[in-house]
């Protein structure tokens, strides 16, 4: 079709026409064949990481090499690929400086991306074979990129690291796959506390919540502290996006089983958790969708329009600044489930080693440093909860939320039983469907059973497709 039309723009009759058509036909065939050959089947992983230098330390970049290497022996070049912004990014860059001090013979190339950009660019880099020797990762990817990562267990065994003793309790969960492969080492983590406005509680005559409270207590308190109507309504709790992640767990349920093969949305305890929030919206203790869109939730809390707020560590200083001296506030652990376990959600960041790295010793040295070095842990403490127990229990725990007397220690305690953010990476498709369930219950006002009935089979199909594509 395209070639036929060119008859009308020929500049040279007879010979010229044929010439043009041939030229374009050849070009088209070349493009088509390039497309066919570029379509890689199976493992299209490139043979190496072009940015990595050679391992001059042991001449052997397998994990079970010739024992641990000293800082002086490790050399070459590595590329670190990660994300971040603001103070968090600065802390990661400072961590790299610490590594460079310890390993002066290793040249580190850093590639830092904005967090909202990282998935597409990382995948493109992995496909192209230049994703770096060390790749920042998160357990909430749920094995999405596991095929690119080196199993770090041999390195840990070789260096005889007692990770349970070294790591903050709860920080390491999710880095080891169900099949035992260790994908990465933790660097930082973040969990949630429930911030509460003391003045609203005082006005309502409701005692402040304590760390022993349950989700039923939470629901009752949220209703008791709510007041007013319309634009003057004061809500019990804001409609924070993280509450959707809490919902399935609050009565001991779960959205899916441990190896992500089966959805457990229709479990009675899971449904009860969703229903709690649906009831809060109906009782106007939590804003409905329209009210939630009228004001950003952090401003809703800071302006005194909501009594409670699920406060992530990552946003604590921002919220504190927004509140300023508007009112007195405190934090409390999230409520407990019926078994007495605190239900909390955690976000984790760690580092993995590209299995095609050409300088695995240096890459491992970097990962170990940013995970287990005290100076690095103390740097991280300014912006996040460090993986290193020593830093978390001292430097971090002694800090207070900026501008307040509220200690960070509770965030350390809250991490112990926290659940890795459940909707990321390979679970994303199922996660979107769970979000529809949440919307059906909290926006459309349907019962949790009805919502589960509408989506359970689609969610199961989404889990099935994860495992079929592997």
């Amino acid at each position: 079709m395209f070639i036929c039309r060119l008859k009308h723009i020929s500049v040279n009759p007879a010979k010229g026409d044929l010439h043009m058509k041939k030229y374009l036909l050849i070009l088209f065939i070349v493009v088509f064949m390039t497309g066919l050959t570029a379509c890689g089947g199976g493992n299209s992983n490139q043979s190496g990481n072009t940015a990595a230098g050679s391992d001059t330390a042991t001449g052997n970049d397998s994990a079970a090499g010739n024992g641990a290497n000293s800082e002086q022996e490790i050399s070459g070049e590595i590329t670190v690929f990660g994300w971040g912004g603001g103070e968090e990014l600065q802390s990661r860059k400072d961590a790299t400086k610490v590594f460079k001090k310890l390993y002066p013979k290793v040249k580190v190339n850093e590639v830092w991306l904005p967090a909202d950009n990282v998935d597409v660019k990382l995948d493109a880099a992995l496909a192209a074979g230049n994703a770096g020797d060390v790749i920042m990762m998160s357990p909430d990817w749920k094995g999405l990129r596991t095929k690119w990562f080196e199993d770090l267990n041999p390195y840990i065994e070789r260096d005889q690291l007692d990770l349970e003793a070294l790591f903050t309790e709860g920080v390491d969960g999710g880095y080891v796959d169900p099949d035992g492969k260790r994908e990465g080492m933790p660097a930082t983590a973040s969990d949630f506390m429930i911030a509460y406005n003391k003045e609203i509680f005082d006005k309502a005559g409701v005692p402040y919540p304590t760390n022993d409270w349950t989700w039923d207590d939470f629901a009752n308190i949220a209703k008791q502290v709510s007041s007013g109507e319309g634009a003057n309504r004061i809500y019990g709790i804001v409609s924070h996006w993280i509450l959707q992640s809490f919902a399935p767990f609050i009565y001991g349920g779960a959205p899916y089983n441990e190896d992500w093969t089966k959805q457990t949305l229709d479990d009675a305890n899971t449904l009860k958790g969703y229903q709690l929030f649906g009831d809060l919206v109906k009782a106007k203790a939590m804003p409905d969708d329209a009210a939630a869109k009228s004001m950003p939730m952090d401003q809703m809390f800071a302006a005194g329009k909501a009594a409670m707020y699920p406060l992530g560590l990552f946003e604590a200083s921002t919220i504190a600044k927004n509140i300023g001296s508007n009112f007195e506030w405190g934090i409390v652990m999230p409520p407990k489930d019926p078994s007495g376990k605190t239900v909390n959600i955690k976000f984790q960041t760690g580092f993995a080693m590209n299995k095609d790295s050409k300088n695995k010793e240096a890459a491992w040295a970097y990962i170990k440093t940013v995970s287990l070095n005290k100076e690095v842990g103390d740097l991280y403490s300014k912006v996040n909860l460090p993986a290193l127990k020593e830093s978390a229990d001292t430097t971090f725990a002694n800090l207070k939320i900026e501008g307040t007397d509220i200690a960070m220690l509770d965030f350390v305690t809250g991490l112990q039983d926290a659940i890795t953010f459940p909707w990321g990476g390979s679970i994303a498709k199922a996660g979107d469907l769970y979000e529809q369930v949440w919307q059906e219950v909290t926006v459309q006002g349907k019962s949790a059973e009805e919502a589960a009935g509408a989506f359970a089979s689609q969610i199961q199909a989404a889990f099935d497709s994860i495992h079929q594509s592997k």
Binding site: V11, V31, A127, V443
Partner: protein
């Protein structure tokens, strides 16, 4: 009469290829190659990192037999197109008629109607989110002046898509300008003759203006259909396809499949199915155009 073709020197032939090669290269690399590659992807389960295998027609079977969101997104998109395109055409024609008057200051109004088309889509969409806010938004405020309680536009499954449609109509500046150009192409002599014969304004519009502007309307219709089927930005930013998939458009489904769920093969399948749908509909419009589009010749 046989057209004599001139013999062009070889030097000029080389110049032809030289000057067209930048565009040609760009077309081959950035348009044709991705298109060809995406056809191949239709038959694979390739992910974002390029790994995948040949799966035959499984993607097509999945779209038609297993994927409920495929139909849901298609229905939503058809809803958008069937309502917004005629409304946009009608509005563009009406506004162009008004802007075709020889009045002082009409240039200001022509600019004003065109500006929405060139303003930043994301920023404007976010503003519309506030305009449609059920508690503080301008729309519900104006409705309240007439004693009407406005709906929760973007939170209500019945009103979310109409809100998106209204946003779409606001950016018809380009259609207005094109229709205006078409109106200005109509010879004044026809209107003068009609006036002499005592034709009313209604007769002039229906018997002179409308028939002679049909080629422009036809162009706007086809472009509107093509653009309508690719609606993405407003629902993506404002509602993320909600509430309860009420504004989940076909392009969102393609985007999510490819970039959120890493199913590039399936996303390519959906993209080519959209291409076929648009082709079929534009061909239907093209075939029917002989009955209602009037050309001078």
């Amino acid at each position: 009469m046989k057209v004599q073709k001139m013999r062009i020197p070889k030097r000029e032939e080389k110049h032809f290829f030289l000057f067209t090669s930048p565009w040609l290269l760009g077309f081959l690399i950035f348009t044709l190659y991705p298109m060809v590659f995406s056809i191949i992807l239709v038959f694979t389960n390739m992910d974002m990192t390029g790994s995948g295998r040949f799966i035959g027609l499984a993607n097509l079977i999945r779209a038609f037999k297993e994927d409920t969101l495929f139909y849901r997104s298609l229905v939503n998109t058809f809803y958008f197109v069937l309502v917004s395109v005629p409304l946009s055409l009608f509005a563009a024609f009406g506004i162009a008629l008004l802007l075709n008057q020889k009045l002082k200051g009409v240039g200001f109004f022509r600019t004003s109607f065109y500006i929405p088309y060139i303003t930043s889509g994301v920023a404007v969409t976010l503003l519309w989110g506030w305009i449609f806010n059920s508690q503080f938004g301008l729309v519900n405020y104006f409705l309240s002046l007439f004693g009407i309680t406005g709906p929760s536009w973007l939170s209500d499954t019945r009103w979310a898509m109409p809100a998106i449609i209204i946003m779409g109509i606001w950016t018809i500046g380009n259609s207005i300008i094109i229709t205006l150009a078409g109106l200005q192409d109509i010879p004044e002599a026809l209107y003068e003759s009609a006036e002499i014969d005592g034709a009313s304004s209604f007769i002039k519009i229906t018997r002179i203006t409308l028939p002679l502007v049909t080629p422009t309307l036809y162009f706007n219709l086809v472009m509107g259909i093509i653009g309508g089927f690719q609606i993405f930005m407003q629902p993506y930013i404002l509602t993320e396809g909600g509430p309860s998939y009420a504004t989940y458009t076909y392009m969102m489904h393609i985007y999510n499949s490819g970039f959120k769920y890493y199913e590039m093969g399936y996303a390519s399948t959906l993209a080519w199915l959209l291409f076929i749908v648009i082709m079929i509909i534009t061909q239907i419009v093209n075939r029917t155009s002989r009955h209602w589009v009037y050309y001078d010749n």
